[in-house]
């Protein structure tokens, strides 16, 4: 899905971080600006001699991107999925919108919403894991921690049981009295809806 090639990785990263926050993305993105790269491409067309001088910069940058390690930890209270592993990418659902994390992502904090976390491993395989709630931390040294309250691979979710949970949650919501009980029931419905959705995939 996200085949990473030399040319577009910078762009891709920009787009992911832009999805996180539109306002403050420009200054913090570390990869070269596309205009720079376009300039280099143009020079490539003009003269190969120039390229030999100019490529030093970009190659360094690309090699840095290639050697980038993403120190990824994904743990839930019930199970550990990744502990300081290196992966290609991870897509996470958060309350500020779903977003993908590649190595060298802008440092950020976010809160997980119920949904499916997709992990693209180094070997090219991808894993889908349902999470109920938790946190996402991206630190400046490119280490990523996804901590969930509870998480299960979506293969393990029973679709009919999930639908039953949803029904129960909905009936609870309709009978709930008081603000706290209502909020709790609403959360239960939200989780159950996400669960049914995840089981459907």
């Amino acid at each position: 899905m996200y085949e990473r090639e030399r040319g577009d990785c910078g762009l891709r990263r920009r787009s992911t971080s832009r999805r996180v926050s539109v306002a403050s993305c420009g200054a913090r993105v570390r990869s070269p600006l596309p205009s720079e790269r376009l300039g280099i491409m143009a020079s490539f067309l003009r003269s190969t001699k120039l390229v030999s001088k100019l490529t030093q910069g970009p190659t360094k940058c690309f090699s840095r991107n290639y050697a980038d390690q993403m120190n990824f930890t994904f743990a839930a209270a019930n199970q550990i999925f990744y502990a300081n592993k290196n992966i290609k990418q991870v897509d996470v659902p958060s309350f500020s919108g779903s977003f993908g994390i590649l190595p060298n992502h802008v440092p950020t904090l976010a809160v997980l919403r119920p949904g499916v976390v997709t992990v693209y491993e180094d070997e090219g395989t991808s894993k889908k894991i349902f999470v109920s709630s938790g946190t996402i931390t991206v630190n400046e040294d490119s280490s990523v921690q996804v901590l969930a309250e509870e998480a299960h691979p979506i293969e393990d979710i029973d679709g009919s049981a999930a639908r039953q949970v949803l029904q129960e949650a909905q009936s609870q919501l309709s009978t709930a009295s008081g603000d706290v009980a209502k909020a709790e029931a609403a959360i239960a419905v939200e989780v159950a809806e996400a669960l049914v959705l995840a089981a459907g995939n």
């Binding site: 971080s17 996180v20 926050s21 403050s24 993305c25 913090r28 930890t73 743990a75 839930a76 209270a77 019930n78 199970q79 550990i80 502990a83 300081n84 309350f95 500020s96 802008v106 440092p107 950020t108 904090l109 976010a110 809160v111 709630s133 938790g134 946190t135 931390t137 630190n139 400046e140 040294d141 280490s143 921690q145 901590l147 309250e149 509870e150």
Partner: protein, 300 residues
């Protein structure tokens, strides 16, 4: 251990009493020794089975701890990398200390060490204005701190330690904890090292305000008050879960060692008592024989 070391002195008294006393007293001592022997044997049976139970519980706790460790490391990683911990250290008033213990005793110095760390912390403060609040998880820490620092104790959570801690337990504690108003704090717990060793450590507990004041927070993207509050709440729960797991594991391993020692001591006592018992019995027989023979000799 204390329970068992007391009878040893008793046995010594009995021994001295047994040798230089009269016959009818000797019979009584013999009975006393056999009763003591029986009770120590019973105690040994109890400690042995307690050891077996805690060994099984320890195996489970250790397995679960291995799962919880990366979880705790993950939470701590942000604290360290954002520099939030240093920011919290400068802010000294309105602190909260969480003591992670359990309701159960007979497990060595696990709970005492936690209480001692907190006591040292509290004794450094001025008496007239109790600044630090203490949140006791487990009845043992409350019992240990109550006498001197009862006004510092804010909340006590009990029914801890009977079953392995779950995330739900941690969330309940976290829920209570968040309602307390604090600037900075820490969790004091026992970090499990090996079966025979643990270390009393503390992890920082940060309020959303302190987290927002972290020196490197400018680097982090898309943070607002709401996200930070939710993040902090979950972080507190996750940290509590991790520390409770660590503490539970150290407690079980410590109990295992304590009960092992108790069984060994009991076995030693049984050996000594059996020896005393046999010697006393022999002494009684010999004395009776001497009396019969000397009586017969007097008749001749």
């Amino acid at each position: 251990m204390m329970m068992i070391s007391k009878p040893t002195t008793m046995a010594v008294c009995l021994k001295s009493a047994a040798t230089g006393q009269q016959q009818n007293r000797n019979m009584a001592t013999l009975k006393q020794i056999s009763m003591r022997l029986k009770s120590v044997t019973n105690i040994q049976k109890i400690t042995q089975s307690m050891k077996m139970v805690s060994a099984a519980k320890y195996a489970r706790a250790e397995r679960e701890l291995r799962q919880a460790r990366p979880y705790g490391e993950g939470v701590k990683a942000f604290f360290e990398k954002s520099g939030a911990t240093e920011a919290a250290d400068t802010d000294d008033n309105n602190k909260l200390i969480v003591a992670i213990t359990s309701d159960r005793g007979l497990c060595g110095a696990v709970h005492t060490n936690v209480a001692k760390t907190i006591r040292n912390e509290l004794s450094a403060e001025s008496v007239e204005s109790p600044q630090s609040k203490v949140f006791c998880v487990g009845d043992k820490s409350r019992a240990l701190l109550q006498r001197l620092y009862s006004q510092n104790i804010a909340v006590v959570a009990n029914e801890v330690g009977r079953k392995p801690p779950t995330f739900l337990d941690a969330s309940k504690v976290a829920n209570e904890l968040i309602q307390l108003d604090f600037n900075s704090g820490k969790i004091v717990f026992n970090r499990f090292k090996t079966v025979v060793s643990y270390q009393t450590e503390e992890v920082p507990l940060l309020s959303a305000k302190t987290m927002l004041a972290a020196p490197k927070l400018q680097l982090y993207d898309s943070i607002d008050q709401g996200v930070m509050e939710s993040y902090q709440e979950f972080t507190v729960a996750a940290l509590l879960y991790y520390t409770m797991k660590e503490s539970a594991c150290s407690e079980q391993s410590s109990r295992m060692t304590a009960m092992d020692n108790a069984s060994k001591n009991a076995a030693e006592m049984i050996g000594k008592l059996t020896l005393t018992f046999n010697r006393t019995r022999q002494a009684v027989i010999t004395r009776e024989l001497i009396e019969i023979i000397s009586g017969a000799a007097a008749l001749e």
